[in-house]
Amino acid sequence: MKKIEIITRTFKLDDVKTALAGIGVKGMTVSEVKGFGRQGGHKEVYRGAEYQVDFVPKIKIDVVVEDDFAAEVVEAARKAARTGEVGDGKIFVSPVDEVVRIRTGETGEDAI
């Protein structure tokens, strides 16, 4: 199985979720993260003291899927998340050895 991590803009969460649910993804897990990249940050000023903030708010969506479903998921996520501007983010795919559903104890592809 594969874990697909989609790091993208916060306001794209709903679009990506809908796109993935649309192709049959049954579950996913989302975290709020801060990203550093080409996009650059912004300046903040407090009582005249300037601070450069290099991190921008992003979301990370983790989805674990069967091996042969992975490419389709990546493609759907990419399309849904894309705006074409710097800062759209990345998708990482990595191997997963095992999955367990806590409720039932099922393992492997049944557990996803």
């Binding site: 306001f11 709903d14 912004h42 300046k43 903040e44 000023v45 407090y46």
Partner: protein
């Protein structure tokens, strides 16, 4: 000069001053967290800008010697002749300065009320100019017409503490601004969920607390009228908080905390013109109606589709109008409304409602267009994405 009344009105003025930061929190909690400071700022800075303008020229335009029923003269510019005694004071029981500063607090909060309409997408520089012009071209005339000896007051329109001057005027301006500035990015598709409702409740509580100064203080004396206005204010507000949550409950949802707070504000708004003219039990009736009607006003907005972000029209526009008309119906204290057989009063109220909406909408339209085409008012889409806090103020609200 009466020291009791002076003491009472000074404390009331402090209470009314506190309402503007209360409003800042009420609005601030309703926006997304990336816009919290910009939203708060638009109310808070009115305490700075409007106060100074009021001293310089606003007070004089409102309460200077009447010119044709339309505007006050320049007698009091730079507070000339506004002193520590009652000389020239429109309220001869109060030091002129006391009367002036009590009125100042009303001039501060009124433009702040409008900001809810264009929250999350307004540029700060343009906003400051817009507000300054609005004070002079909309608020000061309205204030003069109703309380400063102008035509509405002469006509006999009843407006105890600002149903027209404060709430209809800001409601009409809000409607105009919401239409002209357009929708927030994502309106209709994204959820704009309040980021901090406890802050909104706190704001509503401060508003309720300060409104005792607003309405009871509008008696301008610590007398039985003040007591009555205090009680009607409290009772209408209590009733409206209840009826709003009942309305949403019956309408298929749950009774919400935001509903209770919104209902309270709706009640405060609706009782404002009536506070000194109705009895406490009629105030309860008026409040029960206010909660339901303002809730309906917001449902209507959702239908009509303009993006009045924080429901200034639904609460202040609708509530103020409803309150002004009901004053013409229910007045029995120091005035006679329809229920005492005086249909004329309701007609007068109706005329004042129409005139207020028409004047304030039209004038706001002109001011908005002028400022928008010179300095610019609407923030760009990238600014909206980043949030107005960073884009306009280089700050962020929270760092947990």
């Amino acid at each position: 000069m009466n020291p009791v009344d002076n003491a009472f009105i000074l404390i009331c003025a402090a209470l009314v001053m506190f309402m503007t930061p209360g409003l800042a929190l009420f609005y601030g909690g309703l926006v997304r967290s990336k816009n919290v400071l910009a939203t708060i700022m638009q109310s808070f800075i009115m305490l700075g800008l409007m106060s100074v303008l009021w001293a310089v020229v606003g007070y004089s335009l409102s309460f200077g010697s009447d010119i044709g029923g339309l505007i006050g003269g320049l007698d009091f510019v730079f507070l000339k002749g506004v002193g520590m005694d009652a000389v020239n004071s429109p309220a001869d029981n109060l030091p002129h300065l006391t009367f002036m500063i009590f009125q100042c607090m009303f001039a501060v909060i009124t433009p702040a009320l409008i900001t809810g309409a264009f929250a999350e997408r307004m540029k700060f520089a343009g906003f400051m100019v817009f507000s300054a012009l609005w004070l002079i071209l909309v608020y000061a005339p309205m204030c003069h017409w109703v309380w400063g000896g102008g035509w509405m007051g002469q006509m006999g329109a009843l407006d105890f503490a600002g149903g027209a001057v404060v709430h209809m005027s800001s409601g009409a301006a809000a409607l105009c601004c919401a239409i002209l500035i357009g929708k927030r990015k994502g309106h209709g598709s994204t959820a704009f969920i309040p980021h901090n409702l406890p802050m909104t409740i706190l704001g509503a509580a401060i508003l309720w607390f300060g409104w005792f100064g607003f309405n009871a203080g509008s008696a301008l004396a610590a007398d039985g009228n003040a007591a009555n206005a205090f009680v009607t204010t409290h009772m209408a507000t209590a009733a409206a908080a209840l009826s709003w949550i009942v309305a949403e409950w019956l309408h298929g949802g749950k009774p919400t905390t935001l509903g209770a707070a919104s209902g309270a504000v709706a009640g405060l708004v609706a009782i404002t013109p009536a506070a000194g003219f109705v009895t406490p039990m009629w105030a309860i009736a008026l409040g029960l109606g206010a909660g339901v009607i303002c809730y309906g006003g917001i449902m209507l907005k959702n239908k009509l589709g303009y993006d009045d972000a924080l429901d200034v029209v639904g609460i202040h526009g609708v509530g103020g109008t409803y309150g002004a008309l009901m004053t013409g119906v229910l007045a029995t204290v120091n005035a006679e409304g329809l229920i005492l057989g005086n249909g004329h009063q309701l007609w007068v109220q109706f005329v004042s409602v129409v005139a207020t909406w028409a004047f304030c909408f039209a004038m706001t339209f002109v001011i908005f267009k002028v400022v928008d085409s010179t300095i610019g008012l609407k923030a760009g889409p990238e600014e909206e994405d980043k949030g107005m806090d960073i884009a306009e103020h280089s700050e962020t609200g929270y760092q947990w």
